[in-house]
């Protein structure tokens, strides 16, 4: 079984992003970039499936600028066997990425695509579902447990208020939620090994996909800020304020 793992290069989750002075976009110049944390969970899951003898090959894919090769290398240091980089300098929307992933999933005859449920930059939460719809295969989003037996897969997924179990036949698409696993630390020897693995480069045109954006970002701004209120000395004052000032109890 071949597993395709799409990985996105995003602003590191520890960075507090700032809006550019002209409000045109978020300022990401000279900011630390990393692999989207949900995608890291996806690479880890694929690697565990391979270690358990379920998968034969893991192919990491990233779409975007030249530096996306860095996150492909990270995926390889975790456990991916080789990489595909779709080089594209313009911003990509989930729809365009899903179309390119569909082309690659078919070309590679992937049996499983595992990716993060959302990227922590645009928070769109779309790519996996769009890929499954375009590719015409079952989907299991927000996965917290994946079990595979032959060409059958059972996935436990996180829903509002609890958990749900779905079963499906491969090929299929899984999107990861936080509790699926805890990704391993990447070790130096594995980083060195990853450098020797191959990354093939393709273009959106090679995959026959038009990546022209459909959404125009008119502006970005800080969220309305909330002012700090007051500190109260004791419980009695708090209850009094809630009752007589805020009138919420």
């Amino acid at each position: 079984m071949k597993i395709l793992v799409p990985v996105k290069r995003v602003v590191d989750y520890n960075v507090k992003v700032r809006v550019k002075a002209d409000g045109s976009d978020v300022d990401i110049a000279n900011v630390k970039m990393s692999m989207n944390p949900f995608d890291e969970i996806a690479v880890e899951e694929a690697t565990r499936l391979k270690e358990a003898g379920m998968a034969t090959e893991i192919v990491a894919v990233s779409c975007g600028v030249a530096q996306c090769q860095d996150v492909i290398r990270t995926a390889m240091a975790i456990g991916a066997d080789r990489g595909i980089h779709v080089l594209c300098d313009q911003p990509l929307e989930p729809l365009a990425v899903a179309k390119m992933l569909k082309a690659l999933a078919e070309k590679e005859s992937a049996q499983l695509v595992i990716l993060g449920k959302q990227a922590i930059d645009d928070d769109a939460n779309q790519t996996g579902q769009m890929l499954a719809a375009l590719w015409g295969v079952p989907q299991a989003t927000f996965a917290s447990k994946v079990e595979i037996s032959g060409d059958q897969m059972t996935v436990t997924r996180e829903i509002d208020g609890g958990l749900e179990k779905l079963s499906m036949q491969l090929p299929a698409v899984v999107t990861t939620d936080l509790r699926l696993n805890e990704p391993r630390y990447v070790t130096l020897p594995n980083i060195m090994k990853a450098k020797k693995k191959t990354i093939d480069q393709v273009s959106p045109a090679d995959l026959g996909v038009d990546v022209t954006p459909r959404l125009k970002q008119l502006k970005v701004q800080d969220p309305p800020s909330r002012k700090a209120g007051i500190k109260v000395p004791d419980v009695a004052t708090l209850v009094d304020k809630l009752r007589n000032e805020a009138k919420v109890i």
């Binding site: 609890g162 125009k216 800080d222 109260v232």
Partner: protein
């Protein structure tokens, strides 16, 4: 403008967030010079949900599609059903819940449309505000697609009241897609308290609670106030509170009348999930904790003393 709202329901009842999605549709219609709002209820034995949807203010018509394969709200057949009825629609609105997020992108992709996720404000018929970077930035985006497919954040659109019941039209169920996930089972926690996203008062605990047992302190307080219980990511990860209690960008987004944060320092990802609450109270040992920067009322001290005292004081006060 013709707008289709996809109802979230449990067949025998409508989920409250559907009313918020209808309110978002009304807001969109207002920017487009009027709207005809149709609600799709796809399920099995789902007439009670359809009747509740037909009574939501602003709804012109409810489409009811019933079939066994629609019963469990699996994304593949539900998306198929939406595609079967959305032909004449200018906009398709899903609630930004686990259900809506799961299904909407399938519809958007099949219509070859870029979806707008998690809309919090409608600026114009084609222009929307949405949070990015875990709510730290608000983006205004304009859609060039002929059909707008979006998910809307329930807490950003206040539900309107009720109306005289609109027409319910039964429509043919779309065939189940050949390649689809099959529903096996669902475990939903039985709630003795109000649902987190719908509660008027929410009390959340953080890592400072120190153990699962100590969360019982909050339960007493919650029962006194008729509140829902929440938790920070740190408390959930530490195993003090169940998964579905998590408030934050990666958990539930809440906007109650009163939010009480107990032993929560205020990580950005938690604040993104509760900062739209009307009144925020923070109780924390560390007076410098970031949560105090947005709390209306802060109380610095030992939560193990404060919470029982607060519970007693409230019990006496509310008893009066």
């Amino acid at each position: 403008m013709k707008i289709l709202v996809i109802a979230e329901h449990a067949n025998d009842q409508l989920r409250p967030v559907t009313a918020n999605a209808v309110a978002a549709a009304s807001a969109l219609g207002a920017k487009a010079g009027g709207a005809e709002i149709t609600v799709l209820v796809a399920g099995q034995s789902a007439r009670p949900a359809a009747e509740a949807a037909a009574a939501l203010a602003g709804v012109s018509k409810v489409l009811l599609a019933e079939a066994a394969h629609l019963a469990e709200q699996v994304a593949e057949p539900i998306a198929e059903q939406v595609l079967a009825v959305c032909g004449a629609m200018d906009a398709i609105i899903f609630p930004a819940t686990a259900f809506g997020k799961n299904t909407a992108p399938r519809v958007a992709a099949r219509l070859d449309v870029s979806q707008i996720s998690d809309v919090i404000e409608i600026e114009a018929a084609d222009t929307f505000k949405r949070p990015i970077y875990a709510g730290n930035v608000i983006a205004t985006v304009q859609s060039a697609d002929a059909v707008k497919v979006m998910t809307v954040r329930g807490t950003s659109f206040e539900a309107h009241g009720s109306q005289a019941v609109a027409t319910i039209e039964s429509v043919a169920a779309a065939a189940a897609p050949a390649r689809s996930a099959q529903f096996q089972s669902r475990e939903v926690a039985v709630l003795a308290r109000p649902e987190l996203t719908a509660a008027k008062v929410v009390i959340s605990g953080g890592r400072a609670l120190g153990s699962k047992e100590n969360f019982a302190l909050l339960e007493k307080l919650a029962d006194t106030l008729g509140a829902a219980l929440g938790a920070s990511r740190a408390a959930v990860d530490a195993g003090y509170a169940p998964n579905d209690w998590q408030v934050g960008q990666t958990g539930k987004v809440v906007a109650p009348q009163l939010y009480i944060a107990v032993g929560i320092s205020g990580a950005i990802q938690h604040l993104a999930g509760m900062k739209d609450s009307k009144v925020i109270v923070a109780i924390n040992q560390d007076g410098e904790a970031p949560i105090f920067q947005l709390a209306d009322y802060g109380l610095v001290g030992d939560l193990f003393q404060i919470i029982p005292e607060l519970t007693d004081t409230l019990a006496k006060n509310l008893g009066n």
